[in-house]
Amino acid sequence: MAQINRRRFLQLAGLGGLAAGLPCGAAWSSQTKARVVIVGGGTGGAIAARYVKALDPAIDVTIIEAIPQHTTCYMSNWVLAEMRDLDSLTHGYDNAKKRGINVIIDRAERIDTEAHRVLTAGGQSVPYDRLILAPGIDFRWNAIEGYDAAAAEVLPHAWKAGPQTVLLQEQITAMDDGGVVAIVAPPNPYRCPPGPYERAALIAHYLQRHKPKSKVVIYDTKDAFSKQGLFQTGWERHYPGMIEWVGGYETAGGIKRVDVSGRSMHTDFDDFRADVVNVIPPQMAGKVAIDSGLADESGWCPVDFRDLESTLAQNVHIIGDAIVSSALPKSAYIAASTAKVAAVAVVDHINGREPGKPAYFNTCYSLLSPEHSISVSGVYEPVTDADGEQSVVGVGDSVAISPADADDRFQGREARYAASWYDNLTDQGFG
């Protein structure tokens, strides 16, 4: 056991420049042991590919991804505050290819879990021995009446970064001073729990400098939200009177209908208007997971948290935002965390080893201003109750947020950590 681990340490060390010192490295990489296909080349998928290849170079690793370059949704709020441009959040697959990972640019439409094949829009049928599915999220169109893909071209969601982010930014930039930006915040579970509230702060940061009479109003479905106390205190400190949060309890459950032509939003009792309407709609696992029968009635993918294998199909491991609702937040860091758990488990399975205990870990930073960040982090482990029901729980007191009494230097350091978090998080898969 100790020997196996030592050898694997050395394989990883090889990536750091010691490859020449490895006696067997070349021989292993010249023969294929098994085919691992990764559907989805976002943060989770790209990281899973790198770790599988690093842990066992004899495994043939293929990413199938529809879009040739990935723009991360995390940090895209920074674009709205003019702190970053979208290009700096956009990453390609050249480095993955240099490591011997195959990259197929094509849309995976369905996984045939019986025949062990991925079927693509381009007509390809890609075989796998083990599949890692990283489909991210899709939207429940018309869950808010009137909000579908066409409506999103007028009332952007900007919850998948790229053209949608640009559209939202253009609308805010074109708005008159004194206007109102509305954010419709979604019900749990959804991608990036603190994201809508960071967005409010960073839009306010832009408005304060360019259109100081303007406001941001958040219409929430929920009665409470992530890091709420820290957000609300920070909003008042940096943007006094500019951000209003309307909890779900005030509107009997939030916005039920939108009207594109009038930019209006409707609850069961009230009608609201805004100059820019950012609708972050209810979500579900990426469409390919749903269409392949890998999601349950919740719309998310149930997994065995010991190795992230689907409970609905063998040899399919699911990572990132698409995983069924649990204590693990749908964050970029958890996408990375689950990618590593799945990568190790897949390599163990292929090599005839029983995967050991998994390790889950999250860190998320949210900005209130360019010099003020708050964070949440947590260590998680799977547990099985007396009835055999599995879940994930935080370890001890480790799931914790920044202290409320942090001083300016502390908050500034967290803001710098947020930027380095981005650099390292993306470097793992794309660097």
Binding site: K340, G356, K357, F361, S398, E414
Partner: protein, 202 residues
């Protein structure tokens, strides 16, 4: 997994037969360490200037640093909260992984004149404990050289203003240093960018 932890796992396994739950089982050091990479870089090689590389740290130092965070002895924004989630056995398993990784110095700009001045200060006041120009992974200290300048600035602030644990002699010396002395040291450490300089025969 070290022999010690392997032994512990075997004992746990025996207990598990009796109770039906391997409560003390831990994840592999490798998988635990992978989880650090989102902030500290792939295999501990940070490409983010505010967070340190942790590859190549000595096992003793890594474990001590994590215990200091966990017990509230070391200034932190987030590392204390993170450390609350792990046991000493898990820190030891991570430490073994990181100690086996090569240390890769950060590629960054630096002021050569300051670095020359800093080399002098280092040799005179710091080199006794931080040997080989600060490139050596000491049992009670990480490599100082090769870290990012913004991280080093925070680290000096931690020692000088936030009471990060340190020997008394070091505390006295840091109190005597001017801001310019500290900047010179930082640029000296940043100037050492040849990975070969970090490979030492033990």
């Amino acid at each position: 997994m070290t022999r010690k932890t392997l032994g512990a796992a075997l004992i746990t396994g025996l207990i598990a037969v009796g109770t039906g739950a391997a409560a003390n089982e831990i994840a592999s050091g490798e998988l635990l360490a992978f989880q650090c990479a989102g902030c500290h870089g792939f295999n501990g090689h940070s490409v983010g200037p505010a967070t340190p590389s942790i590859a190549g740290f000595s096992e003793d130092y890594f474990v001590q640093a994590m215990l200091d965070y966990k017990e509230g002895n070391r200034y932190a924004t987030i590392m204390d909260r993170i450390a609350w989630g792990y046991s000493q056995e898990e820190f030891e398993a991570m430490a073994e992984f990181f100690a086996a990784q090569p240390y890769l110095p950060a590629r960054q700009g630096f002021d050569a004149d300051l670095a020359e001045l800093g080399a002098d200060i280092h040799d005179r006041y710091c080199g006794n404990c931080h040997s080989e120009g600060g490139t050596y992974a000491e049992y009670d200290s990480a490599q100082l050289a090769g870290q990012w300048i913004p991280y080093l600035e925070d680290a000096f602030e931690d020692f000088i203003e936030h009471g990060r644990p340190q020997p008394r002699g070091m505390q006295r010396r840091l109190a005597d240093f001017s801001d310019a002395d500290v900047q010179a040291l930082i640029h000296y450490y940043a100037s050492q960018q040849d990975p070969a300089a970090y490979v030492h025969a033990d």
